[in-house]
Amino acid sequence: MDLHYSKEYLDFEKEVKAFCKKYDGVTFTDASKNPLASSSSKKKKIQVTRSEWQKILIEQGYFARAVPKEYGGYGGEPDILKSRIIATEFSKAKTPAPMGGQGIDMLVPTLLEMGTQEQKEKYIKPTLHGEMIWCQGYSEPNAGSDLAALQTKGELIDGEWVINGQKIWTSTAQYSQMMFCLVRTEPEAQKHAGISYLLIPMDSEGIEVRPLVDMTMKAGFNEVFFTDVKIPETNIVGKRGEGWAVANATLGHERGSLAPPDAIMNRLNMLIDLMKQEKLDGKPLIEHSIYRDRLMKIQGKVMASQSHALRLLSAKLNPGQDVKVGKMIQKLVGTELRHELEGLAIDVMGEIGVLYEDSPHLRDKGSWQFIYMYFLGLIIGGGTSQIQKNIISERGLGLPKEPKVQGAQ
């Protein structure tokens, strides 16, 4: 066990700290329409556009580190520890993080691996620079956990894909220039075969985006309807009918990133503060031993998940290290724990805990209720907890798959 950084990384840490200091209080001149962008600090020292900020970060090697220079990246070696240092120092100093989103997190890696030269050149740079926002078109109303059942149809007619159907759960669709999308192009093929991975400009004729209100009362997602939408034949990644494999390369990516462990530690600290401030029968909640015991239980789980994240990080740095099912459990454990934590905060506040939106007496901008519900959504989304348990038991533990069902496809 060695939790220290070597000199190279201690130096890098210093460098990042200096960078953060230099850009302390940086703000953006363009209010980004992308809700995934970090909010900025108050002191108005340096002003840049979001896109300029992306470029500054890339230049430093703080973002898109391993993406080749020719596609707008830094062109270096990937370095997990440096990524971690950047994340930690940026978070500490409240320096705006680079933009995230499905284009950067999922499409760029996919194109790098499977895109044509032309696609790489056309899409990666503007995506990294925050000038091209993407949304993901995988889920459909009748294909939730069962992606292979998707029905949106693409026909190749006169050198164009003609697309008809419907997607759901497309976050950021209303801000996006592009969608990467799974479409059934070979209707005769078996379920997993016959799907292709297409790139669709969102301003194409025949696309309608309808906001999808969820239980938080926000429209965090959308439905997207396609009626005879036409796109060029070349807007396909990988071969016809191989979209399933193309998409799967990035699905794994998503599952790991849903519940970042640093966030939960911040949230736990907020909860502790809340319990010091809120009073019941004249005494701060933190001094009520029953509530405190619930807090301590959650703290134990949070500490375990924090330590576990370190173990996973270490396994990335030391490829010999076996993390067995350690990675597969992250989504299940992380989302359930976060939901539980937010739920305790609600109980801690009592009646105040049910206030919402812009109500008087609201604590922490109503974030506890919002995130409590939002994480119920995450428990379900991106593979429900039930699907996660299937994955853990079958792929992780080698338990036999459910036998094929008579009559099912």
Binding site: S145, Y291, D347, G350, A408
Partner: protein, 361 residues
């Protein structure tokens, strides 16, 4: 020996469920949640037409003279249909307070008017049930000052019934001078709560509550049983919806209800919720017939139902997959109703602590 609801009680429940089924679809709930109050008003009027306002008012004052078990049955059906109407405060806690704590004159005056629907009460008891922000209510002679933080059923209220921390309960006229009414917004848009900021407002103290907490305790016990019953109904509806969805929705070539994981979630919900019927009914029955156990059972009904229904709300949403999270199916209106009930009149931990102290002393 008969343990259960009577035919009359079930008939009344069915009427309410039917009314809400016809008049309070998810589309209507969505409009109410968007603050379109005309729909809420229609629901309230319809429910009052069924007679709930006079439910607990003794027959001598023009009411139906029914008991808390009957009220619990109704509360269950309101929870089942997510009825956007005052009930627990206006038509249960308020009449009980006046019946138990009022002078003959006060009873005559107010109960008659509750039965005839001239007077409607908003009810503020959170000073007694663990309010997080100190209420600082002070009663001096016939005046009251301070804040009552979570006043239930205020929307149509002509009067408010407020308790201080000692269980001294009194009535103020909604039109009186010195009242500042602050609307609160909660997750649950089917019921309304407000804060009252009172400055030297005329206050008519209920005669028997000047030096005794007894009435206040009875009112809170009844209120807690109503909340438990409301959550019971809401949770049952969520289970029913989950089971129906599991039968219809297909994934991987088969109904999701044929997957053992989904089946077992449904079974677990039912196994937890089913015994809650008996607990709620028993606790409600005890209020009239088992005085020694009445308080304990009310506490346990409230806290146990809070925990069971929280779990049901989560699991039944999960059974629905992504659709459970959307406003399209509107499952969340029940989820939030359960969420509000949990925190009202004492969180589970606070109420269990009361239950323990009842038995230790």
């Amino acid at each position: 020996m008969y343990f259960g609801l009577s035919e009359d009680q079930i008939f009344f429940q069915d009427n309410i469920k039917k009314f809400l089924e016809e008049n309070s679809s998810v589309d209507i709930l969505r409009k109410i949640a968007a603050d379109d109050r005309t729909f809420a008003k229609d629901i309230h009027d319809g429910i009052v037409n069924l007679g709930i306002n006079g439910l607990l008012v003794p027959e001598e004052f023009g009411g139906l003279g029914l008991d808390i078990l009957f009220a619990a049955a109704i509360s269950e059906s309101l929870g089942y249909g997510a009825g956007a109407t005052p009930f627990i405060g206006s038509y249960v806690m308020a009449p009980i307070a006046i019946i138990d704590g009022g002078s003959d004159k006060q009873k005559q005056n107010y109960l008659t008017k509750v039965a005839s629907n001239e007077v409607k009460f908003g009810v503020g008891f959170s000073a007694l049930t663990g309010a997080r922000d100190d209420s600082e209510i002070q009663i001096k002679g016939n005046k009251i000052s301070g804040r009552s933080l979570f006043v239930l059923d205020y929307e149509y209220a002509t009067h408010f019934l407020i308790s201080d921390i000692n269980g001294c309960i009194g009535i103020i006229d909604a039109q009186a001078n010195g009242i500042d009414l602050v609307e609160l917004k909660t997750i649950d848009r089917t019921r309304n709560v407000c804060e009252l900021i009172l400055k030297n407002v005329d206050f008519e103290i209920l005669e028997q509550t000047k030096n005794s907490k007894n009435t206040a305790e009875k009112v809170i016990d009844a209120g807690r049983i109503m909340l438990a019953a409301d959550s019971l109904g809401a949770a049952q509806n969520m289970i029913n919806k989950a089971v129906d969805y599991a039968k219809e929705r297909k994934q991987f070539g088969r109904a999701i209800g044929s997957f053992q994981a989904v089946k077992h979630m449904c079974a677990e919900m039912v196994a937890e919720l089913e015994p809650c019927y008996a607990l709620v009914w028993h606790a409600a029955h005890a209020q009239k017939h088992m005085p020694n156990e009445a308080r304990l059972m009310a506490c346990q009904a409230k806290s146990h139902l809070s925990d069971v229904t929280k779990e049901v709300a989560k699991k039944s949403t999960e059974v629905h997959g992504g659709m459970g999270f959307t406003d399209l199916l509107g499952l969340h209106y029940w989820f939030k109703r359960i969420g509000l009930n949990r925190q009202l009149l004492g969180t589970p931990e606070r109420v269990r602590e009361e239950a323990a102290l009842l038995q230790l002393n």
